[in-house]
Symmetry: C2
């Protein structure tokens, strides 16, 4: 939903394929209509719902003929079931993608830290879905969560200051200290500041891109239009 | 057309707006269907035409309701008039965007270097359109052009080696030595390796992004879906 995070996702989708030529990359249609009510405001402060705007994007993607839909915004997954109910195109859940990334690192069943928007945390977007696999989440204290939200707003404003990266790393270190075996960057703005999958960090954007590549097997070049 | 170049374009579109919040960014639909015949092969070696595939993308974008269309691939502009004839949606020509970038630098009327695919160069995509404004292009020698094509293929293969950047800078320096006042990175793979608008280099991807932002004035936040 954040345009910079969307660009980051498309870059990671390209890198995840590891293709030698254009034709081997995952074909994609990207709908980036950022004039949409703030997701966090809607969940936390009863602000205007972004669901109608998301359904509008969904209908554009449906008409374009895509086979699967990914949403590179963690907070938006609050409306995942509402969206899935409205379309027959399978949506890819970002938490399932992160779960696969955790599995690849042998971390399923462990205690994992979560850095995400206050809305993502309180709505249980991660905690509920990870609990199914017996994964327990540790989240920042109320004060730390406020710092994290300031950082997220700062990044959304295009301010990529080193201080943002420092705060993210410090908050991550605190979660590791509380027993986390890894820390999910569960807001797609965060990997814009710190490289994900570096040390203890799990990049939800990259996990989603890898899941898209996994679900889009390489087809032989068909020259369909030649 | 190159997926990495497309991701780079979306990133530059976001950066060019310089917005404080998501809602102020340029809304966009991106159609990235890379299983399309090679543009250079089609022009130089009479390979299969990419036009039918491009028309397919055009129809997807038309149905999605966009107001303007930009193509972050210089070589594809060989088919610009064919595409424009088939749609009432105005297409933004990347050479016009570069022309505006040159104008902002006070370089209109000067002699300009061009680093682009052999197809872009020989088809006159830049030379013909810049000649209208009295701009003369200098291009690499046949040997240098071959080196450049190797670099472009290398970048398309996902190999971002420093040697690529060194070759691009060396070729640019030779064009400057031949009298160019600036050098256009007229293939959107090239700015993936060297930061454009740095020194003598004009980044066609960034110029196109800036043109999109210029043509998409900031609307007051309407909460259209609230």
């Amino acid at each position: 939903m954040g345009p910079a995070a969307t660009a980051d996702f498309i870059g990671k989708l390209t890198a995840a394929r590891n293709a030698d030529r254009d034709q081997d990359h995952v074909p994609s249609i990207t709908c980036c209509l950022p004039d949409i009510p703030d997701r966090t405001e809607a969940i936390i402060n009863n602000g205007p719902s972004p669901l109608p705007a998301m359904l509008h994007s969904l209908s554009i993607l449906e008409r374009s003929g895509v086979g699967r839909i990914a949403i590179p915004c963690n907070t938006a997954h609050y409306w995942f079931d509402d969206l899935q109910r409205r379309t027959r195109i399978p949506l890819i859940h970002i938490v399932d993608a992160v779960k696969n990334a955790l599995s690849l690192r042998g971390l399923l069943g462990d205690c994992i830290g979560l850095l995400a928007t206050t809305a993502t945390v309180t709505a249980g977007v991660y905690t509920n879905r990870l609990a199914i696999d017996g994964i327990r989440c540790v989240v920042p204290t109320a004060d730390d969560q406020r710092s994290l939200m300031n950082v997220i707003r700062h990044i959304k404003g295009g301010h990529r200051d080193e201080i943002c990266a420092q705060v993210i790393r410090a908050l991550s270190a605190r979660l590791m200290h509380q027993g986390a075996h890894a820390v999910i960057l569960g807001c797609t703005e965060l990997p814009l500041m710190v490289p994900g999958n570096d040390g203890e960090l799990i990049d939800s954007t990259q996990a989603l891109a890898q899941e898209c590549v996994r679900l889009s097997p390489l087809a032989p070049y068909t020259d369909a239009f030649a």
